[in-house]
Symmetry: C2
Subunit: 207 residues, 2 copies
Amino acid sequence: MTTTATRSRENTRARLLDAASQLFAEVGLDGASVEAVCERAGFTRGAFYSNFESKDELFLMLAGHVAEQRVNAVRERVDEIAAEGGLAEDCDPIDLVQRIMDAGSDDRVGVMLMSEIRIRALRDGQFGAAYLAQEREMVASISAIISDIVAVSPLELRIPAESAARMLMIIWEGMTVRGAMAGQDADQLRHSGSEELGRLVQLLLAE
Amino acid sequence: MTTTATRSRENTRARLLDAASQLFAEVGLDGASVEAVCERAGFTRGAFYSNFESKDELFLMLAGHVAEQRVNAVRERVDEIAAEGGLAEDCDPIDLVQRIMDAGSDDRVGVMLMSEIRIRALRDGQFGAAYLAQEREMVASISAIISDIVAVSPLELRIPAESAARMLMIIWEGMTVRGAMAGQDADQLRHSGSEELGRLVQLLLAE
DNA sequence: TGTATCCGATACATATGTGTATCGTAGAGG
DNA sequence: CCTCTACGATACACATATGTATCGGATACA
């Protein structure tokens, strides 16, 4: 298998995965036929079955990629903030939290895709366990940076850091989902998510 | 149309709706065939199409019932608490909040059905608007009782009541969804939901 | 008891989706 | 320049779902 052939193959897979992520977000896993995925990617089903075993296999790969990407994005953002000395005593915790949550790149399609992934995690025990494991990693990262922030700050956490991280994540998720329902675009989603998030941060910290 | 005929017809509809709610929760709207719904209800598709126009129509009815029931349950619980004088100065706000949130009867199937309804609301603008409208009613009810509690209490709300109500609802939802993913039963769901909820209530109130 | 009516069962037509088997062709390698 | 391989297209077999049209029987009522 030559380099260009490989590259072409990888390109095909990437295009199929991308088309699938859009369609799964829009109409769900069941609602998106293999045919429709291929059509959007500019292929026929021959390409699909020569690259994936089934729609389920593709979905699992996609979910894995998305989860990995989200966890990494949060971790990177956390490291980035730590590196650039964002943890100064005078930093704005609300701003920091928003920057971290925003790492997930939650545009409209992203919110819908995550919702589809979550409902699948709800229906399939094994997949659900994997989802929760990934999420625990994310919570751990967020929790760690919260602890760091609080350590150098005159402020104090009023509940355990892990609990705070979970709350922030869930509130962010809930607000972006509702924003997407109301037809908001990416910027509006960020805004409505941030607003409630700011209030929560305010609650979490005590003098 | 005689009384018994009507009763029988209503019974059939109820059984179909009940079977549908289970199946929609377990495998989603798309994953549940009309045939499967009828089989679980003990009918054939003849009964279905003689009672409903299509699967979508049934789903809309079901979602309407569920939404109405939830809003009413919360309202009733709120009234009940108010009537039995639960709003004494020495009441435990954490306990009150838990009793209200618990009104939604969130067992495993209920959590999954609500998730299915939400994802549908996410994909269909009109349905989404209806969902958000119902939710606003619920938030208003919760918000009202929160205000009442705070009014007679020495404690004070640290953020607007409506915002607090929204947060409580979203955290409850997020925790029960994750509990259901982990395979928890109804009692465990209540427990894990309550735990984080208690912490949030604690945050919301200031001396 | 006869009859009309309504509801649920059955049968049918049609559509859509999946997966496999086969084919054609572009490009790598000798 | 020829051949061989691999990838994507095409064609086919099969399964499953929807919706409609028709049928049969139970029940209310005269």
